[in-house]
Amino acid sequence: MASETRGPQGFERVIEAAPAKVAEFAETKTPVQKLQYALHQTPALVPLIVLVASIIGFGLLLGHKFFSAYALTLILQQVAITGIVGAAQTLVVMTAGIELSVGAITVLSSVIMGQFTFRYGIPAPISVLCGLGVGTFIGFLNGTMVARMKLPPFIVTLGMWQIVLAANFIYSANETIRAQDIEEKAPILQFFGETIRIGGAVLNFGAILMIAIVAVLAYVLRHTAFGRHVYAVGDDPDAAELAGVKVKSILISVYTISGLICGLAGWALIGRLGSVSPTSAQLENINSITAVVIGGISLFGGRGSILGMMFGALIVGVFTLGLRMYGTDPQWTFLLIGSLIIAAVAVDQWIRKAAA
């Protein structure tokens, strides 16, 4: 059996002579191509461009009023809660999940901070910790159901949304705690409402908190193993599992951290409102998802950057304030924001395509 000799078959031997480099192609690098490459490598660049363009646009339309330090920092203040909740949302979306209960967790946490302090007389700092703890725990529950029971995130958090919101109303008896009472007895609850003024610019601690959370998560996602694992889980959980990622514990951590961030958002919410109001933050799930998507993060997971989310939130903020300053009727504003959402994503898609 001549054909059954062991060792390389005849035709396999000639490759020794082959050049080491095989399929390499000519590479040209025009400036346009460099830009395209940059857009590819830095997914947050596209929403940043849209953001800058819309600021310039409204600046031209509305003049110095809009282009003032005051108006621009006002936008930061207005998007702070959405931006913080959006950070929580981003983590979950990265894993190809979705978090519909973020708003509910946020408001329940703030209610707990307030009620614990005022109803039970617990020292405010401890109440804050309790509020953060409850947020974290709800996130943990979500994560457990998603990771261990393998229930779809949409449905887990849809159910949790209703549960937490109802619990919030039942527990708070829909009672608002007044800003004046808080100011007097537990000012620490309003900590994130403090502001720093630099000229006309008014930066509040809530906005700083948003920027800090985004910065930390951007670092974690990009530069730590945990971050890489989050991307891998979102990309293809089966592959990630086989490649040695602890998919379940990553998922649970992600939902848990996102619960904690929502708790922080609840705290910042008290700063923003002055008071503790159980009807707040109800639309933050939709707002945060909008920010995430305008920010270029794929709802299918594994792609995008958290900076994009922040720019996404700011884009909506710029448009809302810009349109209101322009004097657009609220109903029309609502309509235009709807169009903006679609347009922003269309532009994003278009730039990416042009860059592909």
């Binding site: 006002l74 203040q77 109303f169 009672e175 409102l273 008071s275």
Partner: protein
């Protein structure tokens, strides 16, 4: 349930997240317990959620209730369903918001939301005196869907302030230059703050703020405070809830129109009890087509020609 026929009643509110309706429910619950009536409560998920109210009425019919108390979300759209309930022999009473037409219900126990708005409008005008002619007004409304309370209070306020209403069935079509703009608040602190910020960015000289309710007013105040305009800006509101009255006391709100939801509810339950006993139906207030539970202006800065009580008195009776 008991062995003999017990009297069942339903309370259907627009939502059960608004403190106003929470109080209304408390009032109804307390009265029902007193009179030995079984009360079941229903609510829409958001203001304007008509279908949930339709489904609630259907459930009450299936459940064999004797009477229904309802604060209609859509005053016209709910009418055919109310009709069905009445055909089934159920007493239907509208609370807080009349049906359209008003006689679609057996009786209405309500405040007049338009006059609630009117009172604060008149007060604001009188308070400003001559400056009213150059006032800069921010209108903080409820929602883009413009439910009836939203329109009635807004237009009542403008009427009271002496501004031409245009179409009285909607807000936003007025042309008076004193109005800086309208924005929506969802009736809570969050919306109130953001709407206020938006309008301030449009015109920082705003000195009169109308708000749909007291939570929105509290939010607006925070926005004003943030830019150091908390002194010297008039905020007016509607509702007269205890936190709201405290805010009048604390100078956050200049004046508010107080309503009595607990009174509406307890009156409603009484009427159902009477109806169940011998079929008597409640009667209207003298000279009106409905039972007016009244509205009073609460302010610590009373003005000539507009009757009011002070915050102390208001706190004693907040929400009836």
């Amino acid at each position: 349930g008991g062995a003999f026929a017990e009297t069942g009643a339903c309370l259907i509110t627009k939502t059960d997240t608004n403190p106003f309706f929470v109080k209304m429910k408390e009032g109804a619950q307390a009265e029902a317990e007193k009179l030995g009536i079984t009360l079941k409560s229903y609510a829409g998920k958001v203001d304007g959620d008509n279908e949930a109210q339709v489904a609630a009425i259907e459930t009450c019919i299936a459940d064999g209730a004797k009477g229904i108390l309802i604060t209609p979300s859509d005053t016209k759209a709910i009418v055919p369903t109310v009709q069905k309930a009445r055909e089934a022999g159920i007493l239907v009473i509208a609370l807080d918001t009349p049906l359209d037409p008003m006689d679609a219900a057996d009786m209405t126990f309500a405040t007049d939301n338009f006059s609630a708005g009117l009172l604060i409008g008149q007060w604001a005008k009188a308070n400003l005196g001559d400056a009213a002619a150059n006032a800069k007004i921010a209108m903080l409304d409820l929602a883009v869907s413009q439910p009836t309370v939203d329109v009635l209070r807004d237009q009542g306020f403008l009427q009271g302030f002496g501004i031409d209403l245009g179409d009285a069935n909607k807000w936003g079509d007025e042309t008076d230059a004193r109005i800086v703009g309208h924005d929506v608040t969802a009736g809570n602190e969050e919306g109130g703050r953001k709407a206020m910020e938006n309008l301030l960015a449009k015109d920082p000289d705003i000195n009169v703020v109308y708000t749909i309710n007291e939570p929105a007013a509290a939010g607006a105040y925070e926005a004003l405070k943030a830019v150091g305009k908390d002194q010297g800006t008039l905020i007016v509101s509607v509702d007269g809830g205890c936190p709201g009255v405290k805010n009048v006391e604390g100078g956050v709100i200049g004046a508010t129109s107080q309503q009595y939801p607990m009174l509406m509810a307890s009156k409603g339950i009484e009427a159902i009890a009477a109806f169940a006993k011998d079929g008597t139906k409640p009667a209207a207030t003298e000279g009106k087509t409905f039972f007016d539970t009244g509205v009073q202006l609460i302010t610590d800065k009373p003005v000539e020609g507009v009757p009011s009580i002070d915050s102390k008195a208001g706190l004693g009776i907040c929400w009836g």
